[in-house]
Symmetry: C2
């Protein structure tokens, strides 16, 4: 903890790095112009006045630091290469140089077997080269600057040949261009990866939502993305970062295509906007992780664990000078929303002035709490043109991710389950109801049961009649608690259903309720969810009080009118 | 957010206030000597060099601030009274003045009906007055300085008359003394209270553990303290703080006596050591809450909610110059432990140099993760003399707070439950087993069932035979999931037990397993806990894999040796 850290750049990423360092009183020296964001909250380190591109200033920084790192990749790597002889530079200047050229970055990944969108470099910024590129990667395509491009600057979508001229004009006759095959993505994902001296670790998979090519929102865990795909995204991100030298955190942006293929879009060799949520939501933030990596402090995979689901919203400069402050003020109405302002002074439209993160026990609560702020940001904005960056379509559908799966062997069981489903709705518990038969769709049942836990289901209600194998078979495939509802068949008294569900062998439990009693099955599911969720338990206690009051009211009436009249009123 | 805050004192409490202010870029002006802790992490505000007792310096601070607050109560309130005409002082100088004199503070509370330990002021520091005081409050008693006492300084325990002289000497002939009736407390509790312009809100109830009269550890929620008492402690704390003027956070320290009586010990009109845990563990930290109160930012009771159980350990200066740094280094081995160093420079024995907080999904995990650090701190220390400050005895017993209650109507059911209990132990699930009969101990059963949830129980296993009312009655009193295990009575086939547990009326669910099947009841309990705890679910998945492997092994053997030989080996 006695090493001095030097940072090229003192913007918000540098500032949040300083915040993490402050807790351990690690001195950070910041190189940037003026009283930049990072300098405002540190007077332990010795700051240097100057541009993070100025060779002299970088040398000065190196002289007073033990490790030099970056909060922005658009730095002069020839100077970093020089100072690397005398001071530890992390990540390696080679990595930064390679990543600066987005086309070279993609080729580097492609050569190492990391899936990226097909790309082709334009030799010149000419119509002939556009023609050629469009034959190679097809149309539409995305025309991109190889260098100095971020937050959508340097990208231009090309739909038809008619766009060729516009695209070349928009990118300002830049000679370093490349064309990228259009990614028809379902959702954009991002994973923060930490490269330590021994390991490559990953934070959870985050869903990113862009507007006008600038990150607007992030959702962690990514909504509507299965655990299996989320794991694959982390694997791909780790594999991508493993292709580069040096230590530190890396932001890996990815596309998830309609067919569930994952492609790396681009990599940032530093803390990243898509990792802001980690400050409140993870055991260790991306900033602590970066310091840990470059200073060789201990760090393990379990330290990057998510504490709670999180939604992050960027506060951008708006039309008016104080638009961003109005958003911050509004955010303070709900103190679960953690507001971070960057102290950047003058706002400009689209400039990142701050961000807001909310964590909650469930994603739906986090979304609910963020919604008023999203509405405020969207106020008066024209509807976002669809398809410009493959606007994700899963926002609505994923909002109420089911916590309970209600499965039945046959749709004829559904009427018997109606009371239970109503209770789940009354308790505001999101559920999914599915027909899946142990005997008629054994494969489907097995697949569904074995993936239920990773899909976020917390409890299963399984109804079946007669031989009634569904609850027991479901329990055999899942580690989740399974509640069995015996359904009375058309023949017999239903004892067959009860015993088939109840008499499970030792080792595979099913929580059995009485015949056709979906009411109690649903209430039991609420109790089970309530065991791990205070808010649900409180709702359940309220339900108990109400049931108590209802019985007391009946008793009061019985005393008031007498048994005879009471019976009469019941007969009506 | 454009108001400037002035703080008297720039120690760790001021520093953590600055950290909270930094996120919103609220300028904080710090008044203290030198490059104190709070000044190190802020260069937005304009700091003032000087003592927080220096009238001139305080006036300078007032000139450049919109609100003036304190991080220490030992300030000159006559100056605060003067500047209060031109600048907002929060909390009120009257409050600070009253609280500075601990005896006056206690009288103030006592007069307003707030329970405190009986106290009597000594007119002079003499044997006669000691004699008199000991007659009033009895022996043992605690002799205390009325002013400038903190972290145990200014307190002296008086057991017998022989201690009179020692006590007077120890407190250095201080004339402002008072004697306090000895509190035979079971545990010390603390609650952070926030006084806003409209409300008095409270953080969760925290257990504090002192060593040599200095706060060593805090546990939130307080271990082994029921929800009812925890609520009472918060009510008492709010009532106490409501007796004082002004806005801000207040730390309220309390004793919980053996008979569950609560007494206020003392109040601090500022952020407090017992509230450090709020930074990581609550929706809003005590520092954010203090800023919110003094700046009239929105704040509600739900914002003070606990996100996860937390343990906090103070890092004190030790025998060697760098003892505290060694503790910090050791803490970095487990990155779930959040290390805060205060940058105070020179350590002195007992000086607060930093603290460590760990949050985890369960208190037992938080305790487990903190334990190595507690061991390190305790290394080579002499065993703490018992009774000096009523050392709490609940540390061991509360360590493995039960998550599952296993209840049975009769001890004769216990043998049938043995398999299930073994499974809970194998899964490392803390449980409590209790005999409580619905028919023979109806009151005890009702009391136990209705308090189970607030005692931290997450799931109940209830076993009963014959009329078998226990599971259903237990379910009637608790919102927790109840698993019923029908026990076969000595007469009959056990159908009575099964049906009595299974056929619950709609509205009160019991998860029934088959006759005598405590194995499945326990496994179901593990699945239920696993629904809200990833680590337990992982253990359960491992169990499933092992069970699968065991069956496969049997199949392999059956194929290897053939059915005939296999049957032979089974007969052995």
């Amino acid at each position: 903890m006695d090493k001095r850290v030097g940072v090229l750049g003192g913007g918000q990423l540098g500032a949040m790095l300083v915040e993490a360092a402050n807790q351990l009183r690690i001195p950070v020296n910041v190189l940037d112009v003026g009283h930049s964001s990072a300098k405002q909250i540190s007077s332990i380190g010795t700051h240097i006045e100057g541009s993070f591109k100025d060779p002299e200033a970088i040398k000065k920084l190196a002289d007073i630091s033990d490790v030099v790192t970056v909060e922005i990749e658009h730095v002069d790597t020839t100077i970093l290469e020089k100072i690397a002889g005398t001071v530890d530079v992390q990540p390696s200047w080679k990595t930064i140089r390679k990543i600066q050229d987005k086309y070279a970055q993609k080729q580097h990944l492609h050569e190492r077997g990391v899936a990226t969108a097909e790309s082709v470099a334009l030799k010149t910024a000419s119509m002939e080269e556009m023609e050629k590129a469009s034959r190679d990667v097809g149309l539409p395509l995305m025309l991109k600057s190889r260098r100095e491009a971020y937050d959508g600057r340097g990208n231009y979508p090309v739909r038809t040949k008619d766009d060729f001229n516009l695209a070349l004009e928009a990118l300002g006759g830049n000679k370093d261009l490349y064309a990228e095959k259009w990614a028809n993505f379902r959702v954009e994902l991002a994973v923060m990866v930490v490269k330590t001296k021994d390991d490559v670790l990953s934070f959870p998979t985050t869903e990113t939502v862009h507007e006008n090519s600038i990150c607007k929102l992030t959702y962690t865990p990514a909504r509507g993305v299965s655990e299996a795909i989320s794991q694959k995204a982390q694997e791909l991100a780790r594999k991508a970062v493993a292709c580069f030298d040096g230590k530190g955190v890396f932001g890996v942006e990815m596309f998830l295509l309609e067919d569930d293929t994952l492609l790396v879009n681009e990599i940032a060799p530093r803390p990243h906007n898509s990792g802001h949520y980690t400050i409140e939501a993870c055991r260790v933030s991306q900033y602590e992780a970066h310091l840990s990596a470059i200073l060789d402090l201990p760090l393990q995979q379990e330290d990057l664990q998510l504490r709670e689901p999180a939604v992050m919203l960027n506060i951008l400069g708006g039309e008016a000078k104080d638009s961003h402050l109005k958003i911050a003020q509004a955010a303070l109405k709900d103190r679960w929303l953690k507001v971070h302002l960057y102290g950047k002074g003058q706002a400009r439209k689209g400039r990142k002035m701050g961000h807001v993160t909310v964590c909650a026990p469930t994603m739906s609560e986090a979304e609910r709490r963020m919604q008023p702020l999203i509405d405020l940001v969207d106020e008066g904005k024209p509807a976002q043109p669809k398809g410009v960056k493959g606007q994700p379509a899963n926002e609505e559908s994923a909002k109420n991710k089911p916590l309970v799966a209600v499965v039945m062997g046959s749709d004829s069981d559904l009427p018997k389950l109606a009371d239970g489903l109503k209770i789940l709705r009354d308790f505001n518990i999101p559920y999914t109801a599915r027909v899946t038969s142990a005997h008629r769709t054994p494969y489907l049942m097995a697949e569904y049961a074995s993936s239920a836990a990773s899909e976020g289901i917390k409890c299963v209600i399984a109804a079946a009649g007669g031989a009634a194998h569904l609850p027991g078979m479901f329990a055999a495939y899942t580690p989740l608690p399974v509640i069995g509802v015996p359904i009375k068949p058309s023949l017999g008294d239903g004892r067959d259903s009860v015993l088939s569900i109840l008499n499970m062998p030792r080792g595979v439990p099913v929580a059995t309720v009485s015949l056709n009693n979906s009411t109690n099955a649903a209430l039991l599911a609420v109790r089970i969810l309530g065991a791990g969720d205070e808010a649900i338990r409180e709702r359940y206690v309220r339900y108990m009080r109400e049931a108590e009051a209802a019985v007391k009211e009946k008793d009061r009436r019985l005393q008031e009118v007498g048994a005879e009249k009471y019976l009469e009123s019941m007969a009506k």
